[in-house]
Amino acid sequence: MKRLAIASVLCLAVNAHAQTLDELRNDGVLNDAYKSDNVLTYGMGYHQQRYSPLSQINAKTIKRLVPVWNLSLDNNWGEQAQPIVYNGVMYVTNARHTVALDVGTGKQIWKHTLDWPADTPRVVCCGVSNKGAALYNGRVYRTTLDAHVLALDAKTGKEVWRSKAAEWKEGYSLTLAPLVANGVLITGISGAEFGIRGFIDGWDTETGKHLWRRHTIPARGEKGNDTWPQDNNAWQIGGGSAWITGSYDPQLDLMYWGIGNPAPWASQRRAGDNLYTSSVLALRPKTGEIVWHYQFTPNDAYDYDACWELILGELRVNGKMRKVAMQLNRNGFLYVLDRATGELISAKAYEKVNWASHVDPKTGRPVETDIAKSIRDMKATEHWPSTRGAKNWQHAAFNPKTGLLYANTMHEGRMYKHLETKPYEQGQRYMYIENLPMPRAAGEPVGHIEAIDPLTAEKKWRVPLTDFQIWSAMLASGDLLFTGKETGEFIALDAATGKQLWQFQTGSGINAMPVTYTYQGRQYVTVLSGVGGLYWNTNREALKDKVTPGGSVWTFALLPD
């Protein structure tokens, strides 16, 4: 009797901190098991739609949306993470800390602090950051700047295991949120600006044992290596990072990972398509087997890194519903692929593009212009979109009801030039380009917030940004969109028109990922504030009198009537 009681108490205690594969599969999926209390996966569902049907906070009630708590994260490096929420506990990360906190009160439950070598940021191209945790079976998983993977006890924050993915001194780093797919913990790698050879890793969730490694550049003798020169070692130092969490289709048991740019950016010593850089890989989570690939930018000469979100959805194509993966690629084209086969369904330009005229629907390859030739001939060339892309990592959202993508895009060309490459030096920059700004016409937007049709790339509406680009992810929440500005405003827009309905000035700039969920029947919206990352790095002078560093968590709910 007594033992039974103890056993049931134990079960309860474990359940409060356990996440099953079923829960992960159902996260964000609008079926009978849909549970709005939790946000368990990167992208608010394996499909990475960043969409919630919750409607307490809507276009009519938003005027009552107020902050309910704020928690300092004691960090000046910048906040980019997406919070994970499970049964009233929130887990947030940055480059230094992992914090568990109480959703109802905002009070900290535990905090785990990392200490990486002070010179690690040398091998981090684009901001000392972390994009969030994964949660599975009572453990919180995260990556570290010095390229380790960590498991913490979700209840106590105590370290359970720590595994080294790579040597940071060789240019490898980790900032992404891990993915748990089919019971395997999956991580990618950063460092394509340092001449790494990229990979995706599978880990045992219980022990941290390394299960498999899939290099993003095939070795000699492997299929695809013939897309690299055979008379030099370019493939061994050819980049191909994987720095954003892949999406996952549990029915097909396929993960979709966007792969980074080749190294160095200047292309003269790496003739060929350079697989699988600037591509998407469809992989099996248990083995890392490549089931199909699609390359967006063959022989990428422009840093058209394809790492970010492959959004999974269903679209009506010529009268037939198709399971697709969508990406607003850095190269200016919006791709829709059949996610079972990798077949190209559509690729339309969604921003100003001058390096290619179009994507050939038969070959699936971009058709390069004289601009591309001029760049490859090492001439300083006006180049659109710039190497930072028509969209960078600031994740888009997809509303399955409207069938539209909502995105923060960029309108930027630069004077771009390849330099003569010099021999690779381990752990040092390996880029060899010049990339200078061009004069901008008065009033010309620097970017847009926009609603885009995935198949035509037509804009349903478009809000121009004239001061700073937005490097915060988008959240589609019912009839609203939430996103955050570099200058600290957390804003809500009417998803039907793009009209701004609400804003709140947070304590620092926002480059993170808002989420929404319920707790005890009340809808909440949470976003991290804390300026950092690439955009701040490149605009610090312009922003210095407008925004101050300092990370914190902001949570909002409706003020009761």
């Binding site: 002070a118 040398r122 790095n537």
Partner: protein
């Protein structure tokens, strides 16, 4: 980068301060191009977010060397990677920017 023209300029300008040797500037330019230009800008133009090195006082060599070696604000320490001679070479390049590029 064509430093031949540059060298000529330096000799012509013949400033009172001792000018670094051209090979020293060239070495500094190489290290700068690889490791520093991503933040401080190609040829020190367009420093964007990092310190504008064109404004670094030419009589504060020690502060420059200490900042690069040990790190400063968001800049990581470089002393673990670059040799003291590399850092001296970057300094030579930095103080020569005006005579090389006219800015």
């Amino acid at each position: 980068m064509d430093l031949r023209a540059v060298t000529g300029l330096i000799f012509v300008s013949g400033s009172a301060l001792a000018q670094p040797a051209p090979e020293q500037i060239r070495r500094g330019a190489d290290v700068y191009e690889r490791n520093c230009s991503p933040c401080h800008g190609a040829r020190m133009q367009d420093p964007q977010g990092a310190f504008d090195l064109r404004k670094f006082p030419h009589d504060e060599r020690e502060r420059f060397v200490a900042s690069v070696t040990r790190g400063k604000n968001q800049m990581p320490p470089w002393g673990g990677l670059l040799k003291p001679e590399d850092i001296e070479a970057i300094w030579s390049y930095v103080i020569s920017a005006e005579s090389i590029y006219g800015h």
